[in-house]
């Protein structure tokens, strides 16, 4: 609990807040340059997100997969790896969820959990394959995971067309009701926004992320391998095994995320020509969140609000989508490049220190 409080008092809290404000200011200049009223645009953004129950609920829906993909990227980062393949692992989780959701016939208390576990394994194994290649063959995970993203995309399309998509359609059948994880009464409260148990699972995953990394023996080894593989090896840890293990856990988080999108939001999967983008957003979220579970949650909230509220800026203030992306990018830039913010905050932080001394 004490640690939780510290998070808000240290500059690790102050710096991101200031960074967001900086980003919004730079974004405002970009909008001014484009001839738009930034104040109006930001009001529209907040109005879109917090203006009514429906959109607020949909914002939560938007945030949920970002938590999963952010956690997946952050977990790999923590263990010394750059998992760009969250995208593909997410997709593998999605297709597994659709497959099990359509093909299995189980009571609801088994169907959804089994489906989620299946997706978790699918995402985990997909990532573990890249980890295995790194451990055994020394192939850098950035290369393999990028390639596995595309492999996943086409494999998913293949699985869909051969087994799940009815003749003459572009999308799979709808999953059975027993596999859905929507929360009916909550959706009703939020004016039929698509709310589902996945959000809770995401928060739980963040907690487990923390427990595994900082409280268990496995986490100790994974973190040691991540920050200093030489010392880990010297201390008797099996570095190769840890690489595979870390990638598995990272991919498993992505896989659960994929399952929740299917079971809670779409209920089907469409054949897609392009990667959906969850994994890439996850990299940004992990970066914003400093690769800590709490940070990832906040990062996902920020990213979710900005991307979902972007629609409001378009409609409310007429700001074109391209310019909104500039605003989002500048916020992310300042949060990620916190060194710059620290530089500007230096006099303030120094004063704070002086006071403490007195």
């Amino acid at each position: 609990m004490n640690k939780f409080v510290q998070v808000f008092t240290k500059d690790s809290f102050l710096v991101p807040v200031v960074a967001i404000i900086f980003g919004l200011i730079v974004g405002a200049f970009a909008m001014l340059a484009g001839g738009f009223n930034p104040i109006e645009a930001y009001v529209a953004l907040f109005d879109k997100v917090f203006g009514d129950m429906y959109n607020f609920g949909e914002t939560i829906r938007q945030i949920t997969p970002l938590i999963f993909s952010g956690l997946a990227v952050a977990f790999a980062f923590r263990t010394g790896m750059f998992n760009i393949g969250v995208e593909g692992q997410f997709l593998m989780g999605m297709v597994t969820a659709v497959y099990l959701g359509v093909k299995l016939d189980l009571p609801f208390f088994l169907h959804a959990p089994i489906t989620i576990v299946g997706s978790m394994l699918a995402g985990g194994l997909w990532a573990a394959f890249a980890g295995w290649l790194k451990a055994v063959r020394g192939v850098h995970e950035v290369i393999t995971t990028i390639m596995l993203n595309w492999t996943a995309l086409y494999l998913v399309n293949f699985i869909l067309t051969t087994t799940l998509v009815p003749e003459g359609q572009q999308r799979s059948e709808t999953i059975k009701e027993s596999a859905m994880i929507n929360i009916g009464w909550l959706s009703e409260m939020f004016d039929s926004a698509r709310l589902h148990w996945g959000t809770l699972i995401a928060l739980g995953a963040a907690f487990i992320f923390y427990i595994v990394l900082w409280k268990t023996r496995t986490g100790f080894e994974l973190r040691a391998t991540g920050v200093n593989p030489h010392a880990a090896e010297y201390a008797g840890m099996n570095v190769n095994k840890n690489v595979v293990k870390a990638m598995f856990i990272s991919g498993a988080l992505a896989g659960i995320g994929g399952a929740c999108e299917i079971l809670g939001v779409f209920h089907y999967q469409a054949i897609s020509a392009a990667l959906p983008g969850y994994g890439f957003d996850g990299i940004a979220v992990a970066l914003i969140g400093g690769n800590t579970p709490i940070g990832v949650i906040f990062g996902a909230i920020l990213f979710g609000i900005l991307t979902f509220g972007a629609g409001g800026m378009k409609l409310g203030a007429g700001v074109p989508v391209e310019l909104i992306r500039v605003v989002i990018a500048s916020v992310i830039f300042f949060v990620a490049a916190h060194g710059i913010v620290r530089y500007f905050l230096k006099p303030i932080l120094a004063k704070k220190k002086d006071k403490e001394v007195l």
């Binding site: 409080v5 808000f8 008092t9 809290f13 102050l14 807040v17 404000i21 009223n37 104040i39 109006e40 930001y42 009001v43 529209a44 907040f46 009514d52 429906y54 959109n55 949909e58 829906r61 938007q62 997969p65 086409y154 399309n157 067309t161 003459g168 359609q169 572009q170 999308r171 004016d191 039929s192 926004a193 698509r194 999108e261 939001v265 779409f266 089907y268 469409a270 054949i271 897609s272 020509a273 392009a274 959906p276 983008g277 991307t307 979902f308 972007a310 629609g311 378009k314 409609l315 409310g316 203030a317 007429g318 989508v321």
Partner: protein, 347 residues
């Protein structure tokens, strides 16, 4: 310790609330005056919204065409129009809801990808009026606009058969889905009808956004002796055009048939033989006007074909193609309209 937390939180909330209230007062005015400006010319209290698929309004294809239609409608009638661009599959529903929950008079969904989201939103909001292009939704408050792509494709098939010197003709498709298959089926039928000896090679690239793939596919087709390629593959087709332009420069006599819009505008008349134009803009205008006049028909699917002048050859090619070819095209067109020829939907 506690004091510090308090001060940090209070500063944060203070600055946030300042920011919010500070800007909260202003916006009512400018937004009012802004929306008032176009209405000054012609008055209409009707509002029509449109949701794009992930292609966005500048996709050189049906999203853009639909938006151009709505803009034309606005300048003609003063009806308020607005679009929401979707950056991911999950955004279709909330984007539709942006208009629906705000009680807009009509909400368009552009593209087959929006069929499921529209169905869901329509069922949840039985009072709202919705419409979809290129998809069919069975709901009492949705109008579906479908095109008989096969009929227009048949006609460009006739053009290809007449113009081909090698009697080898290519078809490049995007993803193998029913819409694109209608293009292929009509095209093949048209070629065969005009010249039974001509051969059609067809390849699906599996993507709508991969010009590199389009280029390599076109390259291998042209190398096999194909001299005319009809593409129905969105952005992938840009690559087909690039390959043809490059070969044309080297003296090869190769052509491309464009799709959806008149693509000679972008790629030039020297490589664009003709284009299979889908008049999404006119369909959008028509349905929207009907709604404004109180003639909205929910639950109906409008199938637009040659008869409605909704598909066919691009205007510009009517001037550049030889007269005898155009004569042949007109003959087939008459036969299709009269029902003498039924164009297949599946290849």
């Amino acid at each position: 310790m506690n004091k510090k937390i308090l001060s940090v939180i209070s500063v944060a909330t203070l600055s946030l609330s300042l920011a919010l209230t500070g800007c909260g007062q202003k916006p009512a005015e400018p937004s009012g005056s802004e929306s008032g400006a176009p209405a000054a010319e012609q008055k209409s209290d009707k509002k029509i919204g449109m949701v794009t698929d992930v292609g966005g309004v500048n996709d050189n294809s049906f999203n853009q065409s639909a938006w151009e239609g709505l803009q034309k409608l606005q300048s003609e009638t003063g009806i308020n129009v607005q679009y929401a661009q979707s950056t991911g599959d999950a955004e279709y529903v909330p984007n539709l809801n942006t208009f629906v929950k705000d009680k807009w008079d009509l909400t368009w969904g552009i593209g087959f990808l929006l069929a499921d989201p529209i169905k869901q939103v329509a069922e949840q909001n039985p009072d709202a009026k919705l419409a979809i292009v290129d998809g069919e939704v069975a709901a009492p408050n949705v109008t579906s606009v479908m095109f008989k792509e096969q009929e227009g494709s048949f006609l460009v098939g006739v053009v290809a058969a007449e113009m081909s010197k090698s009697n080898k003709i290519g078809f490049v498709g995007g993803i193998k889905i029913p819409v694109i298959e209608r293009f292929e089926a009509g095209f093949k039928a048209g070629v065969k009808a005009a010249n039974p000896n001509a051969e059609v090679v067809s390849i699906y690239t599996g993507a709508f956004d991969k010009p590199d793939l389009g280029k390599s596919t076109a390259s291998s087709m042209y190398s096999q002796g194909v001299d005319i390629i009809f593409h129905a593959s969105g952005g992938t087709g840009d690559g087909v055009f690039n390959e043809a332009t490059a070969r044309k420069k080297n003296g090869a006599d190769v052509w491309v048939i464009g799709v959806d819009k008149d693509q000679s505008i972008n790629f030039g008349e020297d490589v664009t033989l003709t284009s299979m134009v889908k008049k999404v803009d006119e369909a959008v205008i028509q349905v929207s006007k009907d709604m404004a006049e109180g003639k909205f028909e929910g639950g109906k699917t409008i199938n637009l074909g040659l008869k409605d002048n909704a598909v066919g050859l691009s205007e510009s090619s009517l001037k550049t193609l030889p007269a005898e070819v155009l004569k042949k095209v007109d003959e087939f067109k008459a036969k299709i309209i009269s029902g003498e020829i039924t164009v297949p939907e599946k290849p």
